[in-house]
């Protein structure tokens, strides 16, 4: 543990708050223990129980992101909000860039799309960079679409190969094992993670935008295209942020919710309790863009460190009995 690093991390977190406060965002604190979650099929959760001697016990989940309650605040008219909080993800490998408990910064700005949020993210990172922050971790960002990334780095069009059969063919062409039993999402990720992501340019922070809308998320579609209005930020080849133009159509949200709930019920080790009440509370959800940043990874990048060891003071790996 290096006190100098703790001081710098603390000061950067203050600067993050200053940044959002000065832009009229309201800081909020939402529950980390929740009786239900948005069923994200790719995330395993931590489950615990509320023990009540009077009313019986209730299952509770540690939130994998503050999204669930921040969105309810937006639906109730909170306006622009941000939060820095702990988030929890189970069943992930503990490594130089993963810890089951981590710090997340999430903000929502109403009336904008994800494109406008690129500028906010750029301004944020510019304003909190330190003298030792490597040049390759500083704005301006480079912006690239998924289609451009596949054309430039893979030598083929993603848009022309979006069906499972074509993806399988491309995997086979590149000697990457894939099977017709793999879901579309798995085939896409095998191709993207093997061929494209390791080759993404790292000389500047990179915004990769317009993900295939077949990847099921709560991001809105880019009308008339096979893409969703979503981007991720990579700094030094590591994914730091995820941003959506948020879906506001309640029917589409409901479809997402039901679809993910059924996948979760079939595949998850920890099945989550889903609640129609959450959807009911989403009536009035405004058009907005939400962005989430892994703060530990961001701090590591700003401090010129390779991983989150040192930024996270007691990584789980070190304190597990």
């Amino acid at each position: 543990m290096v006190v100098e690093i703790i001081k710098k991390c603390s000061s950067i977190k203050k600067e993050i708050r200053n940044f959002f406060d000065s832009r009229g965002f309201l800081e909020v604190e939402t529950p980390l223990l929740s009786p239900h979650l948005i069923p994200e099929s790719s995330i395993e959760n931590f489950k615990t129980d509320l023990i009540s001697p009077y009313k019986g016990n209730s299952p509770l989940f540690l939130t994998p992101s503050p999204e669930i309650w921040m969105k309810q605040l937006l639906a109730r008219g909170s306006g622009d909000i941000y939060q820095i909080c702990k988030s929890f993800r189970n069943s992930e490998q503990i490594s130089a860039i993963h810890n089951p408990e981590f710090t997340m910064l999430e903000w929502y700005k109403t009336g904008i799309t994800s494109d406008a949020n690129i500028k906010i993210c750029e301004d944020l990172i510019d304003s909190i960079s330190l003298s030792e922050t490597p040049q390759k971790c500083r704005p301006p960002f480079r912006v690239m679409t998924m289609e451009e990334a596949f054309r430039e780095l893979g030598g083929f069009s993603l848009e022309e190969n979006l069906d499972s059969e074509s993806l399988l063919g491309l995997l086979s062409d590149h000697n990457i094992p894939g099977s017709s039993n793999d879901s579309w999402e798995v085939l896409f990720h095998k191709l993207f993670l093997t061929l494209i992501e390791p080759e993404l340019p790292t000389e500047k922070p990179l915004v990769l935008k317009n993900y295939p809308s077949r990847l099921s998320t709560l991001a809105a579609d880019v009308t008339g295209t096979p893409w969703s209005d979503r981007w991720e930020l990579y700094i030094n080849g590591i994914e730091i942020a995820n941003c959506y133009t948020e879906e506001t159509d309640l029917k589409k949200m409901q479809n997402y919710y039901q679809n993910e709930t059924s996948i979760k019920a079939a595949e998850a080790v920890i099945p989550v309790v889903s609640s129609e009440k959450w959807l009911a509370g989403m009536a009035g959800f405004p058009s907005c863009s939400g962005s989430a940043i892994g703060v530990d990874r961001l701090l590591a990048a700003l401090l010129g460190m390779k991983g989150i060891q040192g930024v996270i003071l007691f990584p789980l790996d070190d304190i597990l009995l």
């Binding site: 490998q93 000697n175 990457i176 095998k190 993900y211 994914e239 995820n242």
Partner: protein, 189 residues
């Protein structure tokens, strides 16, 4: 032969992909912003040395090869293959050099190593973490140079170039870390 979950694969694991033996040379876990957890692997084909990049869901089962480490003496290389002899059965093994980058710098004739065997095939050579080498070429340190940490390069008996402290002389023995190829210490004969 057994199955291993991709999430449990470590660097150095021996795998079978498309009926070909591979060793895992790099392993990284990736959790895309939206999607399952994946293990991204860089594999080396143990027959050709060619590198194959693959990505598996961490839950996917992959074929792991059951290998055996056999103590063997290094006999010689003929430019194509390394030749070893099992120190117990005296059986001779041949391993193509093509998949063994830099191995020639660590093999000393007559020394014992572990040969990794899979059935009747020799796949790999396991080196000890540290090996002692005779320094065969070294320039003298500059007289009067007492600056701490001053270094120079020397050549050892296998042709490997090692960065060493300035006091190391030709004819001395040094211990080298095999993975990093870094000087560890001087060995007094």
């Amino acid at each position: 032969m057994g199955q291993i979950k991709a999430g449990a694969i470590a660097k150095g694991t021996f795998l079978l992909e498309k009926d070909t033996p591979f060793i895992v040379v790099e392993r990284e876990f990736v959790n895309p912003g939206k999607g399952s957890a994946f293990a991204r692997l860089k594999l080396k084909n143990l027959r050709t040395g060619a590198v194959l990049k693959v990505t598996h869901k961490t839950q996917d089962a992959v074929e792991e090869i059951d290998v055996e480490d056999v103590s063997s003496q290094f006999l010689y290389s003929d430019g194509e293959s390394y030749h070893f002899m099992n120190t117990v059965t005296f059986e001779q093994y041949e391993i193509p050099m093509v998949s063994m980058e830099d191995m020639q710098y660590f093999l000393k004739e007559g020394e014992s190593y572990k040969v990794v065997r899979w059935g009747n095939e020799s796949l790999d050579i396991k080196l000890p973490p540290k090996i002692d080498f005779l320094v065969t070429e070294a320039e003298d340190g500059v007289k009067g140079d007492t600056v701490q940490g001053a270094t120079k390069y020397v050549k050892v008996e296998t042709g490997l170039t090692v960065k060493v402290p300035i006091f190391i002389k030709e004819g001395e023995t040094i211990r080298v870390n095999v993975e990093t190829k870094e000087y560890q210490e001087r060995i007094n004969n």
